[in-house]
Amino acid sequence: MQMPEPSQAIMNQREALAVALRQIVGQEWVISDEAERRPYQCDGITAYMAMPLLVVLPGSAAEVQQILRFCHERGVKVVPRGSGTSLSGGALPLEDGILLVTSRLCNVLEVDAPNRVARVQPGVPNIKISEAVQHLGLCYMPDPSSQLISTIGGNVAENAGGVHCLKYGVTANHILGLEAVLMTGEIIRLGGAYLGAAEGEMDLMGVLTGSEGLLAMVTEIAVRLEPVPEVARVISMSFPSVEEACACVGAIVGAGIIPAGLEFMDRKVLDAVSVLIRETFDSNTAALLLCELDGTAVEVDALVDVVSDVARNQGAIETKVSTTEEERQRIWSSRKLAFSAIGKLCPDYYCTDGTIPRNKLPEVLNKMADMSVKYGLDYANCFHAGDGNLHPIIMYDAAKPGDLEKAEAFGADVLIACVDAGGVLSGEHGVGVEKRDLMTHQFTDIDLNQQQMVKCAFDPAELLNPGKVFPTACRCAEFGRMHVRNGAIRFPDIPRF
C-alpha cells in the first residue's frame, strides 16, 4: 500500500513535538515510547501497519482544538482514531503524523428524553448510547457488528450501517447535530439538537458524515433516539443453495415487506459460528437467511406468516421463528460474531464491502466463486442481504509469501464486479486505504476532482488524514489558483449578486 512519502524533517522533531503536545493534554496522554506506539500501528486491518509519530489522547474538545491549531502551525499531519476497528484502514497511522485518539472523550453528555436526543462525545462506544437510555425505552438504532466497541465518532466518520439500517437508515439518518474542529482549530457547529434544526442550512452535516476524517475532527454529536420496538422476532431460514437464498431476499422485499434486518450467511460461516452459539445446522443447508421483523405484536405476527410463506415458496428447507427475546439475541449473536469467528478458520482474512442491487446477488456471488478458484484462496460470505451490501471474507495466510497480494487482488476483483453490476465500492466500511486505488473505477476524474475540492475547502493544507480515500494528493493549492488567477476571479463577466 503506497502512502504519501513521510517527511523526515517532521519525524526528526518527534521529541520536541511531544514536549509541546504534553503541555496541552498532560504528561500521560502523549505516547512517544516506541514499544507503546506499536499497538497503535493498525486498526481492524492488520495487513497494513505504520508506526505513528506520536499518539495523543485529548481529554476535551478544547484540547482537540489546541492540538489541531498547533499541528496546523507546525505542518504536522493528523490521523483521527476511535477504537481502531475500521475495516478499510481509515485509522492507519502515518509515520510523520500524530494519531489523535478519541477514547478518553467517552461521556454521554445529556439525554433529552422528551425530544429523543442524546448529546455524546465522539469516543462513546455505539452500544453505550443505547445502554444509557434503555431505562427510558429508547435506543440508538444504527448497529454495526462492531458496536460493542466501535465509537460513535468513528461511526460518523464512516457513515456506519449495520443490520438494522435496512429499515431504519444508516448513521447519517440519525445524526441531528455535530460539533467539529477544523484543522485550523476553528470550531464549527452544524445542525442542532432537534429534528429539522439544520433547516435552511446547507447540508454540511451530510458532508461531514462519512467524510472518513478528511474534513474535520468531530468533538460532539447529537444523535436521534428511537423507541425500542415493542416486539421483535427473527426468522431463521435455511436454503439448499445460495441461489435460492438470494432469490428469497428479492421475494421478501418484493412482497412489500421492509424487514428490520435481512442477513445472509453461507455454510462456512455457519460452521464457524455453530461452536460459539452451540447450535448445529442441517447438513443440506448451503445458506441461511436471518430476517428480523419488528413493530407491534399484531403487526409482527402477521409479517412472520407472510415471510414464512415466501420462504417456503422459495424452497426453504426449514424456517424457525424466535419465541423469546433470549432466543432472538442468541440467533443474532451468531451473525454479530461471524467475522471474528472466521478468525478461527484461517490465520488471516480480508473482508471487503461492495454494495450491489439486490437482483444482482446471484450473478456477483457466482463470479466470486470463480475468482476463488482463480486465486486459489478460500472465502466465506456473510452480509447484509436486504440492502445488497456484500462482505466477502477472503481467507489467507500472511506468513505465506504472495498470499496477501493474492487476497488484495481477489478483493479488488470483487469490488470491480460490484461496480460493474451497477453497485458501489463501499456500503458502510468506508474507502480508507483499502479501496482507495479503486476509486477511479467508480468515479470519473471530474467526479474525483469535485470531491477533492470539498476536501480543499475544509482542509486546504491537506493535513487531516491524507493518503486516505483519494488515490492522488488533492493539490489544493492548484484548485486555489483556478479560482483567483492573476488577481482576477474566474468568469469576471458574469454578474455577481
Binding site: I31, R38, G84, T85, S146, F339, G343, K344
Partner: protein
C-alpha cells in the same frame, strides 16, 4: 495477526511457540476492549488485551530483556479474563499473559522495592501461619498507615480492623463422614485454601456442613494447601510448581485409595481457575502431565457440584434480596455464570445482578496490593454498582472479592455457600446476624 518471532526463540521455548500460535488467532477486531477493566479506566490501547497482545508480540520479536513500559502494561493486567470470555476468535489470552509474565520474571530485573514486595507476597500468602503473623504485625502498624502511600498503604488498608478468627478445626486434615442415617452419595476432597483459612473460617465450615447434609463425604487431604495462584500470577512459576505438585499428590492419593474420590471441590473461584489449569501448567512435564490433567478434570466449583447433585428444598424461609457479585475467576475464568444464581433462587432468595457485572472489582489476587491506583478506581465503580440495586445482602464465591468489597457496600457480604447452608438448615451467617437488615 502475523508476528515475526524468531524461529530460534520458538524452538528454544515451547511457550514462545505457543504464543506465536495464539497471537496468530487474533484478528485485531477490538471486541475485547469493550470488556477490559483497565481499558475502562485508562482508555488506552496499551492497557487493553489487544494492546498487550501487541506488546507481548514485540517482546518476543525483539528477544532479551523487555523494556520498562512493556512490563508496566503487562503488570497492569488484572488477569480477569473478561477478554478471553468474549473473544469470538478464541484467542487464549490467559495462556499468553501467563507465559508472558514468566518470560518477564526470567528476563527483567525489577527495582528492589518491587522485588521485596513480590517475594514477600509469594512467601506469605500460601502459608496461613505466616500470613496470620503478618496480619497481626499489620494491625500494630495500622494507626500509622496515613504516613504511607502506594503498595504499602494498600497492604495496611487490607488488614482487617477486627482480629482474625481463630484457626478453624475443620481446616486440619481429616474426613467428614455423612451424618448417621444418611447414605453416602459422593466423596470429595475440599481445597480449603490458604488465605481463606485465616481470613474467614466460616466459608469452609459452611461448605462442609452443606455437603454433609447432601450426603457427600468431605476429605481435607493431608498435604494439600495453596493452589499456587499467587506465585503464578506474578510469573514465578518455580515458586508455584511445588505447591501444585503437593496438591496433585495429596488428591490423587485419595482418588487412588480404597474410598476413591468423585471431585475436588473448590469454594474460592480464583483457586478453581488455577486448579482447572493444572493440566496446562504441567503439560510439558511427562512425569506430571497426566496426573495434573486428572486433577483438573476432577476440579469443581462448589456451585457446579451442588448443581450436579441438586439442592435439597429450603427449610428456612429466607426471601432476602441478594445481589450476586460474580468473581472474574468464576464468570470469565471458569465460565460459571448461572449456577450460583440458580442455586440461590431455588433456595428462596431473590437474586439481583450487578450492573456492569463483567467488570472486575480490582481485587484480582494480589492486584489490589500491587496496583492500588487502578484497583481503587475499579473498587469504587463496583461498590457504586452494587449499591445501585438496593439489595439486603451481597454474595460472591471468591474470598478475594469479599475482602475487597465487604466493608464498602453498606450491606453484609457473604459467601454463596453460607446462604445455601443457612437456607437448607445451617446457622444464619454471622455477618447477617450481626447487622440489622435494611427493610425488604
Amino acid at each position: 495477526m502475523l508476528s515475526h518471532i524468531p524461529q530460534a526463540a520458538q524452538d528454544a521455548d515451547a511457550n514462545i511457540k505457543l504464543a506465536k500460535e495464539i497471537i496468530g488467532n487474533c484478528v485485531h477486531c477490538g471486541v475485547c476492549l469493550s470488556r477490559c477493566p483497565t481499558y475502562a479506566v485508562k482508555h488506552e490501547e496499551n492497557d487493553s488485551p489487544r494492546g498487550r497482545i501487541f506488546l507481548i508480540k514485540g517482546m518476543y520479536e525483539k528477544g532479551g530483556a523487555p523494556d520498562d513500559r512493556t512490563v508496566e502494561h503487562l503488570d497492569r493486567c488484572l488477569t480477569c479474563l473478561a477478554c478471553e470470555a468474549i473473544c469470538p476468535s478464541g484467542v487464549e489470552y490467559s495462556k499468553l499473559i501467563a507465559h508472558g509474565r514468566e518470560y518477564v520474571e526470567q528476563h527483567y530485573r525489577r527495582p528492589l522495592f518491587q522485588r521485596i514486595v513480590r517475594e514477600s507476597l509469594i512467601r506469605l500468602l500460601p502459608n496461613a501461619g505466616l500470613f496470620r503473623k503478618a496480619i497481626a504485625l499489620g494491625r500494630l502498624a495500622r494507626p500509622a498507615r496515613g504516613l504511607f502511600s502506594g503498595t504499602l498503604r494498600a497492604m495496611m488498608d487490607m488488614v482487617p480492623a477486627k482480629p482474625l478468627p481463630a484457626p478453624s478445626p475443620v481446616d486440619r486434615p481429616q474426613t467428614f463422614t455423612v451424618k448417621p442415617g444418611t447414605t453416602r452419595r459422593k466423596r470429595v476432597a475440599l481445597l480449603n485454601g490458604c488465605v481463606q483459612t485465616a481470613l474467614d473460617t466460616a466459608i469452609n465450615e459452611a461448605t462442609i456442613r452443606l455437603l454433609q447434609r447432601h450426603g457427600v463425604e468431605v476429605v481435607v487431604a493431608r498435604g494439600s494447601g495453596c493452589c499456587g495462584a499467587p506465585a503464578e500470577h506474578m510469573g514465578a512459576e518455580d515458586k508455584a510448581l511445588p505447591l501444585v505438585k503437593a496438591n496433585i499428590d495429596a488428591w490423587l492419593r485419595e482418588a487412588d485409595g480404597p474410598e476413591g474420590l468423585d471431585a475436588v471441590i473448590i469454594n474460592t473461584s480464583g483457586c478453581g481457575t488455577s486448579v482447572k489449569a493444572y493440566g496446562h501448567a504441567m503439560r510439558l512435564d511427562p512425569q506430571w502431565a497426566d496426573k495434573a490433567a486428572r486433577v483438573s478434570a476432577m476440579a469443581r466449583d462448589i456451585s457446579e457440584f451442588m448443581t450436579e447433585i441438586g439442592l435439597m428444598p429450603a427449610t428456612q424461609p429466607a426471601g432476602l434480596r441478594v445481589v450476586y457479585h460474580s468473581a472474574c475467576s468464576m464468570q470469565h475464568g471458569q465460565r460459571i455464570i448461572n449456577q450460583p444464581k440458580d442455586l440461590l433462587r431455588s433456595a428462596g432468595f431473590t437474586v439481583l445482578d450487578v450492573p456492569e457485572g463483567y467488570l472486575c472489582c480490582g481485587s484480582a489476587g494480589t492486584y489490589n496490593l500491587l496496583q492500588p491506583d487502578i484497583a481503587g478506581q475499579l473498587k469504587e465503580r463496583k461498590v457504586r454498582n452494587i449499591r445501585s440495586v438496593n439489595a439486603q445482602v451481597a454474595a460472591s464465591g471468591n474470598i478475594g472479592c469479599m475482602t475487597q468489597l465487604a466493608g464498602e457496600v453498606g450491606i453484609p457480604f457473604v459467601h454463596t455457600v453460607e446462604l445455601l447452608d443457612w437456607a437448607t438448615g445451617g446457622p444464619e451467617p454471622a455477618a447477617l446476624a450481626a447487622t440489622p437488615l435494611v427493610a425488604g
